[in-house]
């Protein structure tokens, strides 16, 4: 194993040393242990590679920053550089962990920036294929910078972290060992066009880098106020605000777009911003698709005189029914839930009270009693509220309803419901209890005349006739009805019928054809 030793030319004090980070390595170098590359003389020559100089050059894509006399790793020899500190920063790459393995996922760090570490101390755990592997350090030193976050895929040869090795801690004459890239010959132009990003010239933690990436900010444009010019989180945020103020509407629309994209994924959005001290900004969200439709339909619905009828339904029998369906289910693709049974019994009840399944024509003052029971199911999707309906429930078995419901649910999730699925409904069920709440006061889905909101099935205590307390599964329903067509008595009687069928499902058998 040949060590390449390069002599650094002394530079004027204002400039910095060049440390190029290696690019992806194409070499598979068998290494006897999953630790870092061996160092020949640990204290002074921090040269990590065991490659011959020529092969080294061919493997590592040397950027135009490199000078012929320079080498791409931190490398000091105290012969030529007598007045530099004896220690330095070394790049620690991910070593080969087995032939054919080109990359690993970083699972977790066992150390953090600033930690003192011993030789052979575990630094991190990575995963390749089937194995998790602990990477240990070949050096005693101090962690200067972690270059990857857990979850990142790291290619073999890519630098994992930077260590300060040697007896002293990070040298106080820090400008000399700062990891900031300046091309030789242009050290007087700190904003060199040469691509500093690709060589990671800015000192910042992975968390800060991720934050900058999130805002589309180039770290090189940010003034670092931390030690040694390090870019801190606050610096990124401040820069983002200034940038936002300078860009004006474009920044606002960018964030508005982000908001739009994340509609329906609110649970992740606040987490990203949880730690951020953000200056609040107004956001304009144009309504599209389902939401736009909702504006129209709800405005019209609000003009209809609604009344609401509330009832509690005992679901003990329903719970048993569902359990029985599940236990006797041989088809793994079918999952039984409560809703199909509720839908079927609704249809049965509507057969007795056809006015519940009707449409009202205002102009002609006519009620059209619909022949088909097309029962709409309100679905909250990430694209908004969709209400596809199951056609002809009166002719479907509970099993067929289950399958159809599943089909519609999948389409709704993928935003692929076709217009036929969404139109022609004659009554709507809204299982708002799935999300929460005791019951709601739903608005009609015009031109229907009734809508039913179902709350959660809750286990509550009930008193029996002899004064004992027993548990019971109770669901509260709220039927919203068009008072121009339906009166309280009709709705109450209809609800009693439906309730009876749910509480005594065996009665369904009496009427099923």
């Amino acid at each position: 194993m040949m060590i390449s030793r390069r002599i650094w030319q002394k530079r004027p004090p204002t400039s910095s040393w060049i440390f190029l980070r290696p690019y992806t390595s194409q070499i598979a170098v068998p290494s006897p242990s999953p630790s870092l590359f061996p160092v020949q003389t640990p204290s002074l020559i921090g040269f990590l590679s065991s490659y011959a100089a020529s092969s080294f050059r061919s493997v590592y894509k040397i950027s135009s920053l490199e000078m012929p006399t320079m080498v791409s790793r931190c490398c000091y020899s105290n012969h030529a550089l007598a007045d530099l500190p004896a220690s330095g920063i070394v790049d620690v790459p991910l070593a080969q962990t087995g032939e054919g393995i080109a990359e690993c996922e970083l699972l977790k760090w066992f150390v953090k920036e600033g930690d003192e570490i011993e030789e052979f101390q575990p630094l991190c755990a990575v995963q390749s294929d089937k194995a998790t592997i602990e990477i240990t350090s070949r050096y005693k030193g101090k962690v200067a910078q972690l270059l990857h976050a857990p979850g990142n895929i790291v290619k073999v040869g890519e630098t994992l972290l930077k260590l300060v090795v040697g007896d002293s801690a990070v040298p106080t004459s820090s400008s000399d060992v700062l990891e900031s890239v300046k091309p030789p010959g242009s050290e007087n132009s700190p904003d060199s066009k040469l691509n500093k990003d690709t060589v990671g010239g800015v000192l910042a933690t992975p968390a800060v880098r991720n934050l900058a990436k999130l805002y589309g900010i180039n770290l090189n444009d940010v003034d670092g106020t931390g030690k040694d010019g390090r870019v801190l989180k606050e610096d990124v945020l401040k820069y983002a605000v200034q940038k936002g103020a300078a860009d004006g509407p474009s920044a606002a629309s960018v964030s508005a777009d982000c908001r739009e994209q994340l509609l329906g994924e609110e649970e992740t959005y606040p987490q990203t911003f949880a730690e951020v001290k953000w200056y609040p900004d107004d956001k304009t969200v144009p309504l599209r698709g389902f939401q736009r439709t909702m504006v129209k339909t709800m405005s019209m619905a609000a003009k209809i005189p609604h009344f609401h009828y509330v009832e509690e339904i005992n679901c003990d029998a329903l719970v048993k029914l569902k359990a029985s369906f599940q236990n006797n289910n041989s088809d793994p693709n079918i999952k039984h839930t409560f809703l199909p049974s509720l839908i079927k019994s609704l249809s049965m009840a509507m057969s007795k009270y056809p006015f519940m399944n009707s449409c009202f024509n205002e102009e002609s003052l006519e009620v059209i009693l619909k022949g088909s029971h097309n029962i709409g199911i309100a679905m909250a999707t990430q694209h908004g509220l969709a209400v596809p309906n199951i056609k002809n429930v009166q002719s479907l078995s509970i099993l067929e309803i289950t399958k159809e419901l599943s089909r519609l649910q999948q389409l709704a999730k993928d935003n692929e419901l076709n217009p036929a699925d969404n139109s022609g409904g004659t009554i709507t069920l809204s299982n708002i209890g799935a999300i929460g709440g005791k019951f709601g006061a739903p608005l009609l889905n015009l031109p229907e005349v009734a809508i039913i909101a179902m709350g959660r099935i809750e286990k509550v205590p009930r008193l029996s006739d002899d004064g004992n307390v027993y548990p019971s599964s109770i669901m509260t329903v709220n039927i919203g009805a068009d008072h121009r067509v339906l009166d309280g008595a009709t709705v109450a009687k209809f609800c009693n019928e439906w309730k009876q069928l749910i509480e005594n499902p065996e009665l369904l058998l009496l009427q099923m054809r």
């Binding site: 087995g98 194995a131 839930t337």
Partner: protein
């Protein structure tokens, strides 16, 4: 090497034990667990439920989902799964280096002995196969001085259980896009269960001097509090992984 024989020990308990022995013990161990008590899904350390599982079915059937401390893929385990685990000091197995390929090859040699003359056994990529059908999946963890290599063998399995697993994005080449039922096979078609366990024990004995110990022996070396990283995923985590679904039914009784 200490050999521990378990029967229908819950897989979570087994994994906790293994992790403890890997990290805290300094002796070599072989653990054979003849089936686990209830069906469970076991994912590798970086497994993402949304990519690997049919979460809707998993939640509905309330199948426990465990994330283990070793890498590798996802399996559904039950009483028909036989688990064999080897935990070794890196210097105690001649010719075996503490990195994945080396350990995997050595294990292939070991099991070659077990199935000699019985079936067309091969180590294929990282799986144990008969012909081109997988019957055993492997995972490893390598620490500073020790390593663990554990295998779940499909003695038998329930077809329905395979439906909990999605077709994985990362699959060995020899799988060639086959679905679960076309890709895996049952060991019970090849040899009796007790034979397998006996032959495995014999094969291990050719590499180590084996001492049969009971579960209590695993308590001794470890002393201080050990917190395993293998864990059961909570219902909430699975629901979050499920992502936004059209909320039409959520009655939770």
């Amino acid at each position: 090497m200490n050999l521990v024989r378990l029967n229908r020990t819950p897989i979570l308990k087994q994994l906790h034990l293994e992790e403890k022995l890997l990290r805290k013990s300094s002796t070599n161990w072989c653990i054979i667990n003849d089936g686990t008590d209830t069906p469970a899904i076991v994912m590798g350390i970086s497994g993402k439920p949304s990519e690997l599982l049919e979460i809707g079915s998993v939640l509905r059937d309330q199948v426990p989902v465990i994330k283990r401390f070793t890498g590798g893929g996802t399996v559904v385990v039950d009483k028909g799964t036989v688990f064999v685990t080897l935990i070794c000091n890196k210097d105690d197995v001649p010719g075996v280096q503490p990195y994945p390929r080396s350990i995997m090859s050595w294990s292939g040699l070991l099991y070659n002995q077990v199935f000699k003359g019985i079936a067309d056994f091969q180590l294929r990529e990282n799986d144990y196969v008969f012909g081109n059908r997988k019957f055993g999946g492997n995972a490893q963890s390598i620490t500073k001085n020790r390593w663990i290599h554990h295998t779940s063998f499909l003695w038998d399995y329930a077809e329905g259980n395979m439906a909990f697993l999605k077709q994985p994005a990362r699959a060995p080449e020899y799988r060639m896009e086959r679905g679960h039922t076309e890709f895996i096979c049952r060991m019970n078609e090849y040899l009796p269960r007790t034979d397998f366990i006996e032959k495995t024990t014999e094969a291990v004995e050719t590499y180590f001097s084996v001492k049969n110990v009971n579960l209590e022996a695993t308590e001794e070396p470890c002393g201080a509090e050990f917190v395993p990283s293998t864990r059961l995923l909570s219902k909430q985590e699975l629901e979050e992984a499920l992502g936004p679904q059209p909320e039409i039914i959520g009655v939770s009784v």
